[in-house]
Symmetry: C2
Subunit: 317 residues, 2 copies
Amino acid sequence: VGRALARLLLDRQEILSRRYGLELRVTAILTGSHGFLMDDAGADLRSCLSSPALPERGEPPPIRSWPADVLVEITPLNVATGQPALTVMREALKAGMDVVTANKGPIAHGFHTLTALAQEHGRSLRFEAAVADNLPLFNLVRAALPAVELRSVRGIFNSTTNYLLSEVSRGAAFETAMARAQELGIMERDPSHDLHGWDAAVKAVIINNVLLGGALKPADVDRQPVNGEVAALARGAALDGKRVRMMSTISVGEARWEAATLGPADPFYAVDGFSLGAEIVTDVAGRLVISLHDPHVEQTAYALLADIIDVVGHQGQ
Amino acid sequence: VGRALARLLLDRQEILSRRYGLELRVTAILTGSHGFLMDDAGADLRSCLSSPALPERGEPPPIRSWPADVLVEITPLNVATGQPALTVMREALKAGMDVVTANKGPIAHGFHTLTALAQEHGRSLRFEAAVADNLPLFNLVRAALPAVELRSVRGIFNSTTNYLLSEVSRGAAFETAMARAQELGIMERDPSHDLHGWDAAVKAVIINNVLLGGALKPADVDRQPVNGEVAALARGAALDGKRVRMMSTISVGEARWEAATLGPADPFYAVDGFSLGAEIVTDVAGRLVISLHDPHVEQTAYALLADIIDVVGHQGQ
């Protein structure tokens, strides 16, 4: 995701300058095991992309000394605690940076405390990329659904299991579909994150806590594992012109993830393969369905960029 | 739409005050043939809703003397010129009001000049309700797709013909479906606006001119009329598990409205009856599809309210 974001920043330089008068500089890059870089004048992203590692080694300086207005946090997910991202994001907000993240963990575990910290320091916290690439769930609610009460959210938020069931519907054996997903690099390192619904549970918690005012934890989410039994259900449904989807259903203070057999009249029937989708049921704004078709890592990077542009826009005010 | 907006304003009073510290007052209401009302202190909407007409008769005072920060324009569509709404909106912008409208005509005919006028006077122009009730097309692009180039937009923007073809697919005769649509009051007063695609053409022009940078006119849009032939196509498709939709396809400087036969894998298959939908194809943000299911006049009113909240929010800055 970091490399995709670097490519996107290079690609969008001209449009950012022309449309928004924005010149974004990357003044620090920190990685887990490929070193770090700090440069007030802005890193040369082209040369970073062509190198296997960053120039500096050892312990990077503390966050409060980083020369940045925005922290972009994209470390891997820790389902149980949201760490170390949660601490890094707290430090950045305290140091007066806006925070943009693609990491579900800290938002699932710390949304309310991070939001309070952001308000205290007059900064913004954005995390569109954490749930469904650039499917605009939070931006849509914020920008297009003011003065609305959300009743529930239903959706497909785990693309790996959606890919597996789509392949099985087309006739693949479950084991073959699993092997393909691993080849494509779309399975989480720990397959249970996808198959046992932890990825979906963390996303459901975020949606519940952010959009429906709840305070759930990942363990509160009912999860049906994706296994040979669900695959058999999908295979049978296909014979009947139907499709099985792992649907997240989230209402106030309650969330579950389970297999649902959908006919063609259901808007999620067409959300196939890697695609993602969300249905938002409201009190006065009707029922909206939004889907993102066949996203790649470039779309995760774009979600980060959209959030960066948003928070940088607010800094000027 | 005006009465639905009045009901919604009453219903949302508490939430507007609590969430946004907003107290919206309706200081003037002007109608075509039911009189007008002006009241600096704010009209009593409950009593307006219970009366068949407003208290004042005769010629209302000129716009520049209206005691308002926002003009909400909801007069009927004039496809050929966009008048008289276009002149009213120009006057309001010149008088320093923001303008919110559900009227397609002035946006199709005057988007570029109205936008220039709004910029000149530091005011906003919003028209989400003009194209697809509160399907957030313009708000979505503005809020969630910054720094993106739109390649094309495809969608179902005329709910009357979508209702007709949905009924025919379910076995109704075309004439019966027409009669039902007229009973429900969903046909435009001149049925050719719906059936010959003028409504869809005006919306396609708005989408083209606003989102794709074009300068089309309604007459530039290729339109296939909805008639017994299209109904027969829909009936035949239904036997085959498919659905016929009148799809608007809009790319830079080009737009058409025509019958398309869709299988269940197409996201617009599930956009049935009065529902509306749009697919947005972008360069770096992937392919997004958004649909609004079974909207009523309350959703048109909501789109106006969302735009009012947006422009009033900008006034404080």
